[in-house]
Every structure is written in C-alpha cells, then in structure tokens.
C-alpha cells in the first residue's frame, strides 16, 4: 500500500509540475486573423530592399502583435519591418530581427493598431536575401502590392493578430470560461466551465481513491 501511495504521489507530482509549466507559460493572446488561407506556393515574394503592402478592412480589436509565416529558403534572412499604415500615417510598426529562417515570426507593432479600419499592412525586407510570406492567390488589387513589379501581384499574406502584451494561460481562465459558455445549451454559462473542472477533478480523485482501496484490499486478502 505504501508503494501504491508513493506511485500515486509521484504521478500527481508529475502532473502538478506539468500543470504549473503549462498554465504559467506566457504568450500573447490570440485576437483574430485576416481570414486568408495558405496556398502552397502562392507566397508573397519580397526581394531584398523591396516592400509588400496589402489592404486590410479591419484589424481585430485589442491587436498589437502580428504573426506572419516567412519562407527564407533555409538561409537566415531579415530584418523585416512590419507596419500598419492609414492614409500615409503609420499607426504602429515593429521589426522582425535578422536571422529568421523558415518560421512563423511574431512582431509587436503596438496596441495603437487594434480596431483600426481600412489600413495597409506593409512588410519591408531590409535584409539582403529574398523572403516569401505565406498566403494565398487573390484577385488583382485585393492582395499585396509588391514594389518590385516583376513579382506576382495577385497574392495576399496570411496575418494572425495577437494582443501586444503577454499573459499566462492561467490568467486567461476567466476568458476561456466565458467563451466556453457560448453557443451551447440554454442552461450552460460561464459557471459550467468551472463546474466541469470541478467534476473532472472530483472524478480523478475518486478514481485514485478507488484504486487505493482495491489494491489495499488485495494486499489484505
């Protein structure tokens, strides 16, 4: 029985540590995307020193960080400057540092861009190598305009938007609970998420107690 208890304690300790690491992990919360898909290889190609700007009807409320997926042909590239511009005025911008290599890159452009309407999102390649930003084919005029006219002009970049500041997952629990109550049965609400959590924890505790009881009984008999 001591060994059984010890095994449960070890298991619970592992779960506890993993939970702490998971829940205290900090990241910029997701707020929305621009609805573009990723079609291979319909990427927006930006040669060195050039820029691609695409119109965006609206930036999601609360956005302050952008994420784009950049292909660099296995070689380090960048830096890239990402800016949000309206009528010639820069609402926010940030730099993806040199050294990016075939990856999704996040860049903080400032919380001033959140909720902005009818803007241009521009990516300038300040590096010495060509980069491509993942996106899809779109009708001419609705996608990214690349300053190098030799590049395809009928593609749009996929952009994901996140809040400007980082938060732990634990601190998002209230938001998750609220959203989990939407579009469900009429009696489901924010409380349900907490009830589910309590139910699962209670069931887990009961399962461990049951195992302990059964193994103890085996030892006794």
């Amino acid at each position: 029985v001591t060994r059984v208890r010890a095994a449960i304690a070890v298991g619970l300790a592992l779960i506890g540590v993993a939970l702490l690491v998971t829940l205290l992990h900090r990241e910029e919360p997701f707020v929305g995307d621009n609805g573009r898909e990723i079609e291979l290889p319909a990427f927006v190609v930006i040669p060195a020193g050039e820029q691609a700007c695409q119109p965006e009807g609206a930036i999601p409320d609360g956005a302050g960080t952008a994420r784009i997926t950049v292909s660099t042909d296995y070689k380090p590239a960048g830096p890239l400057t990402v800016s949000v511009v309206r009528d010639g005025t820069t609402l926010g911008s940030g730099v993806i540092a040199a050294g990016i290599e075939d990856q999704a890159a996040r860049v903080r452009v400032g919380s001033g861009v959140g909720g902005a309407r009818d803007v241009q999102v521009c990516v300038r390649n300040n590096g010495s190598r060509r980069v491509s930003v993942a996106g899809q084919e779109v009708p001419f005029g609705s996608g990214a305009h690349v300053t190098d006219p030799r590049q395809p002009q009928t593609r749009a970049m996929r952009i994901d938007w996140f809040e400007a500041g980082k938060a732990t997952r634990l601190s998002r629990a209230g938001v998750i609970a609220r959203r989990a109550g939407y579009a469900k049965a009429s009696w489901v609400g924010t409380w349900t998420f907490w009830a589910v959590l309590a139910l699962v924890l209670a069931a887990s505790a009961a399962a461990l107690a049951l195992v302990l009881r059964e193994t103890r009984r085996a030892v006794e008999t």
Binding site: G11, Y74, W187
Partner: protein, 542 residues
Amino acid sequence: VSTAAAPPVKRRRLAALRARAARLPRAIWLCALLAFVNAVAWSLLVPVFQNPDEAVHAGYAQYIGETGKVPQRLSTGPYYLPPPDADIAFSEVPFSILGHPTWSAAQNAQLHGRLDASPRPGSVNEGGAGYASSNPPLYYAYEAIAYNVAKPGDFLDRFEAMRIASALLAALTVFFVFLFLRELLPGTPWAWTVGALAVAFQPLFAFMGGGINNDNLIYLAGSALLAGVARAFRRGMTPGVGVWIGAALAVGVLGKGSMFALIPGAVVGVLLAAWRTPRERRRRALGGVLAAGLTAGIPIVGWLVANQLIYDRAASTTTASFSAGSTFQVRELFSYIWQFYLPRLPFMDDQFPYAQPGYHFYPTFPLWQTYVQGFIGRFGWFQYMFPMWVNWLGLGVLVSILGLAGAALVRFRAAVRRRWPELLTYALLFAGLLLLVNLVGYQYRLGAPHNNFEQARYLLPMIGLYAAVVALATRGAGRRWGPALGALLVTVAIGHNLFAQLLTANRYYNGATYPLVTDQAPKPDTKAKAKARAKKEKKKAP
C-alpha cells in the same frame, strides 16, 4: 421499482437480476460512474458539432425523434441539408473544422434568440441525416429518446441531451470492459479496476463518449462481445452466454456497419468456446452456439429485409462499404494494408508516397501518425493534437506497457498455452477490425487519392483489449510492484485526460485558429533533407 404488482415469474426474474447485480463488485459501478462523469465533462467542454461528423449524426437522431421514421439514404444533392433550427446553430455557432466557435456575447445572444423565437424554427428535414443516413438506425433511435426528453428546450438543449445519452453508453462500455477483465484475469481483482479506469480516462474514448456519434454504440457492443466471449471460455458456453454474444453482435451491427468486422472472430470464438466446454456440458454448449446465431442473425437479417421492404432503402445501405469498386485490386489492397503497418517491400508501389521531394501526403507513416498519435490524442474532426514531443512520450509509455504485458505473457506461458483458443479469438477480433478499416480506407482512396480515411477512433470497439494490455502490464511488473504500477498508470491516464481537456479548452476558446493549408505545390524541404537530396543529386550527376 416496486415489484409487488408484478406477476410471480416476472418478480422472480427481477429478483434474480437484482441478486446478480448485487453480486457484482462495487468497483464496477464506480468505474462506470466515473466514465460517465468524464464523458459528460467532455460533452460540455467541446463546442457543438466538433465531434467527428456530429452534425449529420445529430440530424439522423433528430429526424427519428421528430418523425419516428428512418431517413432515406441520400443519393444526390448536398451532403448535409439540415432543418431550420439545426441550420441556425450550424451557421451561427458557427461550425468550422479549423476555426473556433463564436467568442462574441452578442452573437451568442442572437443565436439563442433565433432558436427560441416564436414560432420555433422547424426541426424536420430528412437531409439533416446527410451522409450518415446510410447507417443503421439503432443508435439514433436511442438518441431520439434523449432528444424527445429535452424537447421542451431549443435545438442546443436537445443536442446536449443527446450527448449525455452518449456518455451513458461510454459508462456502459466501461462496465463491460470491467466484466471482460474479471473473466480474463479472475485472480487479480485490483487489475480489473485499473484496466477499466484506464479506459474511463482515455481521452479519445471520453471525447467520443461526450459526442453524438454512432461509434459509441459499437464501442459498447464490442466491449460486451469481449466480455461475453471471455465468459464463454472461462465458464463454458451456455445458451445464456450465447444470447449475450449474439445480442452484442446484433446491437453493434444495427449501430454501425463496421461491426461486421467482428463477426468472423466472434464465430470462431463461439465455436472454440463450445469445443472447450467440458464434454458433459457439450449439449448445452451447442445450445449456446445456436442461441448466439439466432440472437445475432434474426435482428440483422430482419433489419436488412426491413431496410429494403419497409423503409425502401437498398440492403446495400448497410453493407455498401464492403462492395468493391471497379478499380479495386486485391494485390494493391494487400500492398496498401502491408504498407499501412510495415515498411514497403521493393516490389510494391508506394501507397504513402512523398508527393514531391520534401513534401509528403498525410499520412506517410500511417501506423504512427494515424493510430498511435491518434490514440494518444487527436481530437475534433481528427484535427488538433498534442505537441509532437507528447506523442513521443506517449509512444514511450505505450511501448513500456506493451513490454510489461509481453513479460506477463512469458511469465504465465503455461496459462497462455492452455488458453490459446481464447487468445486466438481476441487476435481474430482485432485483426478483423483492422482489416475492415483498412479495406474501407483503401476503397476511400480509390475515389480520393492520397486522402486519409483511417482514424484511431475506429479501433475503439476493441478498447477492452487496451484495458487488458494495461491490466496484463501490471501483472508483468510482478506481485510486489504490480499494484503500484497499476496506480501509476491510472494516475497517468488521469493526467493525460486532464491535459487533453486543457488542450481542447485552449484550442476552441483561447488559441489561434488554424489556417487552411492547401497542398497545391511542394512544401519546402527541411534543411537536413534538402542537404541530403542535394548530395544525392550531386553523386548522381555525371
């Protein structure tokens, strides 16, 4: 339940049933209850329609609940044509395989407002059953009961009621898994609880249990079949056990066509169990064989006939997935199945190829990607899963469990030798399921090249065997460490379940959406692969 007014025979039967239930260990009820609670938790966590094909399964049950009729099989038109209330939910949740449900309080209020409007939006449309309409009706008839119980509520209330009814099936599945282990390892009662709890907290099983999907009925039927077969081998074949086995088969086949996969193994099992029954009880055993055949055969044949004559649906509605297409080739099928599990042999065409250098169709390593990763946890419409390192960790745990179970088989080889017909039956049941899923997968590919059909959930009718492996593994750890290992495995299962739920909460209510990635052209190679290919090409160059 009062039995005072019941006639004496009925009263005696009820009393016998009660006495039999009272003889069952309390742990079996607790395991089933915990499975129910966990599946209900999943049902409340996962957004509407996010269980695989849930919209059409709900549509089928709704149609039966509303009309009492079985829907016609769709031959043309859209895959899914829901009634107005389901359509409102579908578009306003909104449903998306890759996206998330609404995060807007206003849209949520609008959704409920439209569903609760007076007059209520319509609830009847045969097309709601969509591509699920080819399924047999038993599961949906059962779900229709829950649907009607919640009928005063709106569509989403009825939907959740149907999910909870599914959770009840998950609980019954665990109940039968426990019974199976009790017959399989009669000398180790604590291992029954360990195995049953490993199933109750297996995240994929619980996720399915919390959704509207006819798979849940065949998980129950498969587990009941295993328990019946194990009982037949341990206690001898009797008419009662025959009815049990036959009923499990009938319920399964009337729930989903893939239950046909278990019939060959079940037939062999029933015959072997009768053969192993002591000579003096052989006559009774033959009665058991007959009972199994009749109990399974009459409803199945009855359904196939009624399907055609009463419901005006072709018999192939139930069996269509087994018919061979015009491009079907046995040699290619064999090659496909071989490569699903094992490396390709030189004379075989590549069934899971790299489409272009550096880019490969999914899956390239199907056993690993589809079944192992799927079992560790691939949720939604087989869409989101744990980070890859968790899959490697899970593989390590699974291999360790298999190793310990193997050690137990070696240690108890005398019993294994003695019980070979029983083990052969389990192997045949599992092999039958694997083969049928692969057969359908192969046929699916003939119509949709390189598309993936197989999913780990299709193997869950044999979830009892997973429980058996877990229970055996604890035996493999020896008398001293076995209970501790069992406790550790249950704790791991609980943690696995908890993290799967956190993953799900993050996926739908917090994390970034997944962009749709279409493979119109090659994905870039990884750096290592590109280098290796360049080196190879350099070598080849004159």
